[in-house]
Symmetry: C2
Subunit: 296 residues, 2 copies
């Protein structure tokens, strides 16, 4: 199977699973539920679920065992975008070509939708009472996701991003920010796939963590490159929007050419990290290539 087919298959899988776990319309606060659905089904690429499924497949774990975890990482990601876009944060009106949640609904609803989505992520992660995943591993998954989302992970990265806006960052400071802001949840996605499989050796877990850190950075560097190179239509947001917000990016610090080289260096690190694996990890290798070669 080509990697594009695998990606598409995973996107369909997680969308169907999200459809299952999202609150029915007869829940108490119907407008809140609409806003949650709006934030979840927003044309996202489902990068984190795809990485999670690819890790599970590498470890020969049936993908359906991972559906709940895939929903959980996507719910955390989607909630973080809703809160990121708020007027007090990045104040974005558009996301992937559509009005952001607080524009389509209102600010209070957008805040609450994000809050509810975070809770839902933890609920769905362990919702399958007949899960074949051991309770110990399910607890490890909760721990991993909570740690990656909070004050030592994604939320910290957001906070660092906010205080960095308008400042000159070193390459090291930029990398540190992205390891938290996007890297922590991307790593958690890979680790959740491994924990769901219940089969990874400590050596494999360590290799996968190194892989995920490199892929996370490659993804972010490529995002910065696309923000300069891409056009508004393909990106779904105004091209050059990071520049307009006066945010430090890999391209602003390194220039376009050196940023491209760094993305390839990270891709190579990701491939190197997978050396304990044979061909069964080709899907992870292909994903890393895809991440640095994509156009949007």
């Amino acid at each position: 199977m080509q990697i594009k087919e695998f990606i598409q298959q995973c996107q369909l899988r997680v969308d169907a699973a999200l459809e299952q776990c999202l609150p029915a319309e007869n829940l108490p606060a119907s407008r809140l539920c609409e806003a949650i659905r709006y934030g979840v089904f927003n044309g996202g690429k489902r990068v984190r679920p795809v990485l999670l499924y690819a890790t599970a497949q590498t470890l020969n774990c049936p993908l359906d065992i991972c559906d709940n975890a895939a929903c959980a990482v996507e719910l955390i990601h989607a909630y973080s975008l809703i809160h990121d876009d708020l007027p007090a944060m990045d104040d974005d009106d558009l996301r992937r070509g559509k009005p952001t949640c607080h524009i389509a609904f209102d600010e209070a609803t957008a805040i609450l939708a994000g809050d509810a989505m975070q809770a839902m992520a933890f609920e769905v992660l362990i919702a399958a009472t007949n899960s074949p995943v051991t309770p110990a591993n399910q607890l490890a998954m909760v721990r991993e996701l909570a740690h990656a989302s909070g004050a030592a992970g994604m939320a910290a990265g957001q906070a660092v991003d906010l205080v960095s806006t308008g400042k000159t960052l070193s390459l090291q400071e930029l990398e540190r920010m992205h390891r938290l802001k996007t890297g922590a949840l991307i790593s958690a996605s890979v680790m959740l796939g491994a924990l769901a499989s219940d089969r990874a050796t400590p050596e494999q877990l360590s290799a996968l963590r190194t892989y995920s850190a490199a892929v996370g950075l490659a993804f972010q560097i490529k995002d910065d490159i696309l923000d300069v190179e891409g056009d508004t239509h393909t990106l779904g947001k105004p091209q050059g929007s990071d520049e307009a917000l006066n945010k430090a990016t890999y391209t602003s610090i390194l220039g376009l050419e050196a940023a491209r080289e760094l993305a390839i260096t990270q891709h190579r690190s990701a491939i190197d990290a997978l050396s304990p694996f044979g061909t069964e990890a080709d899907v992870l290798r292909d994903l890393s290539s895809y991440i640095v070669e994509r156009n949007n």
Copy 2:
């Protein structure tokens, strides 16, 4: 031991435990950590941890086993207050006589602090890797807390509260809102105490759930009464602030006298619910009395 002493002991316990689990200052985003500490150590009454410990004591469970769960429910409560106070929500500048988090820091930091605190709640809930609580019960605790916090619980209650502001509510609609907004997390606190004990029979669990629902409503009704009766100094917020926001309250719908009677009716329901228990549940009975008799 008098109930006031028990409450004070629990407050000290959970504050010490929160001190342990709150992010050290050397974490990546120091301003975020300061805001989290500000939101957590804000003079709160720790009602939810007290109910959790009281339930554990009723079931003869050592209180130290419950410290993580007590921190978790308080972190969820404290984050919800930070988000509630935001300009897009209730737009409150004062909470318990001190500037609210977005006033003391800024709006973006307040949003992120709340987000990080929710993640931290789930992380700390199951942080004790050597916990005597069975993994199955720990998972049930995650499920209970997540469900109570999200789109079928607290966040839904907030959303209903927002769309209800300025509208005339029936008593039934008001009760439904409060069952979600404050009741769900109060119930979860009692259930977490029971699950941590690992000793409750299904009959006892069911009795405790009924107790917690009644206590939650009694607490809310008393809050509304105090908002009318109390003075600004004792309450730490402007007296009559709900009225100023044009929010439906038990006193605005029923009048002060009937609201007092309803609080006592709920208190009696709480006591009745505890009939499967003997004197070991006196601490829960005394707490219910305390809740309807308190002055702040």
